[in-house]
């Protein structure tokens, strides 16, 4: 189960996305060595997430580490 869980987490975060990379939590991401995060994931910034959801009309996916 743990193996599958890790695969789920890694699989989601390593997927390539369209669009430019955005990483407002760069300092936190670097210090936590969260290198598996790629693509336009918003890092630890819910306010930015809600703002982008409002402007884009997309739903929000919030993943908890």
């Amino acid at each position: 189960m743990i193996g599958r869980t890790a695969a789920l987490g890694m699989g989601l975060l390593c997927l390539a996305f369209s669009g430019p990379a955005q990483d407002p939590g760069e300092a936190l991401r670097k210090v936590l060595k969260d290198d598996e995060v790629r693509g336009p994931w918003i890092y630890n910034d819910l306010a930015k997430g809600f703002s982008e959801a409002r402007s884009s009309g997309k739903p929000l996916l919030v993943v908890f580490r």
């Binding site: 869980t5 936190l28 210090v31 930015k48 959801a53 739903p59 929000l60 908890f64 580490r65």
Partner: protein, 344 residues
């Protein structure tokens, strides 16, 4: 999956500092968890939970997560016409608006320190701290911890349902004699909504069960063989008190438990030690609180049978106050030894 995710604004939260607890209510003892929302804060659904190692099957899968994403996009497409049906996905007002409202979590008001990995780790507020602090608040007020908090986010198996982790909420099997069996739910049924809430995942079923009342009923809308079915799931008194996803695994129990890591003796070990069920047989796995590794608790306050680890922890959480003595007897090296445990 990439195409699906591209249709979402994706946020990765690594700490619960400042988290809005009126919106973000989920299994805080998570292995992996996610919430899906509209930009206005309306909750579409949840995914993920605590994935216990002693379960006989997985609960998280990429396929299941993909199905959840598809379901959320359907709900989003129908929004706000379905707003009323989604109302139940938001929980009651929390004790505090953010985790830092709890007195023991006040230090986390300061921003996360990113000067080093160690400093970041110690200033990040972990999700499971919320449950722990909630338990502390209740214990400080010298009140019993209620069933809804001790057995939070019940697994579907608690009502007899094993769901397919690769689908939204499709029934794999139904335990005979269970609440689900009595409701007439069958293997293969797709549960479309429960208690009026559209389901995107197993976590959504857990959410409905988490909010369900003792002795209450839940309306289940199903698809069976392509046809719609409507059934009623009756929850008997005490339904929540199940060893499945029970009390013992939760990080919050360290607030009150008078013993460290422990488990019920296996049937083989019971046989070897001549402790047939339902004799109390709680094996201590980690030395602490005056107990040694491999001690076996066989008597608690004069009682010798009918108490599992979960039962004992629930008893302490609900019937004992911090500091209350709990006399017990352990088997240590084959000998009976009297010990004095203490509720915390």
């Amino acid at each position: 999956m990439a195409e699906l995710l591209d249709r979402f604004v994706c946020v990765r939260m690594v700490a619960a500092n400042g988290m809005d607890l009126s919106i973000f209510q989920f299994e805080y003892n998570l292995t992996w968890a996610a919430m899906f929302l509209n930009a206005d804060g309306t909750i579409y659904g949840r995914y993920g939970t605590l994935s216990r190692q002693d379960r006989d099957h997985a609960i998280l899968s990429l396929a299941g997560f993909g199905k959840a994403l598809e379901a959320v996009l359907e709900l989003h497409g129908a929004y706000p016409g379905n707003k009323a049906a989604l109302a139940g996905k938001k929980g009651p007002a929390p004790r505090f608006p953010t985790p830092e409202g709890y007195s023991d979590l006040k230090p986390y008001v300061k921003p996360i320190d990113t000067s080093s990995e160690g400093k970041a780790e110690t200033t990040c507020l972990h999700c499971h701290y919320v449950e722990k602090s909630e338990y502390k608040s209740i214990r400080s007020a010298r009140k019993p911890i209620p069933d809804e908090a001790l057995w939070a986010f019940p697994m579907p198996e608690t009502v007899g349902l094993t769901l397919d982790e690769d689908r939204r909420a499709t029934v794999k099997s139904v335990a005979p004699g269970s609440a689900a069996a009595k409701a007439g739910i069958k293997a293969g049924d797709e549960i479309v909504s429960l208690d009026g809430q559209p389901l995107v995942s197993i976590a959504d079923v857990q959410w409905v069960l988490h909010r369900a009342k003792d002795g209450g009923t839940l309306k289940a809308e199903l698809r069976r063989g392509g046809a719609a079915q409507s059934l009623t799931l009756s929850l008997p008194k005490g339904w929540r008190r199940s060893v499945i996803g029970g009390v013992g695994h939760a990080a919050g129990t360290w607030v009150f438990r008078p013993i460290s890591d422990a488990e019920d003796l296996s049937p083989d070990e019971r046989k070897k030690r001549n402790l047939p069920y339902p004799a109390i047989a709680i094996l201590i796995k980690w030395p602490d609180f005056g107990l040694l590794r491999d001690d076996v608790i066989v008597e608690i306050e004069g009682r010798k049978s009918g108490l599992s680890v979960d039962d004992f922890l629930a008893y302490v959480a609900q019937k004992k106050m911090p500091g209350d003595p709990i006399p017990a007897v352990v088997l240590r090296g084959g000998k009976r030894v009297e010990v004095q445990l203490k509720a915390r």
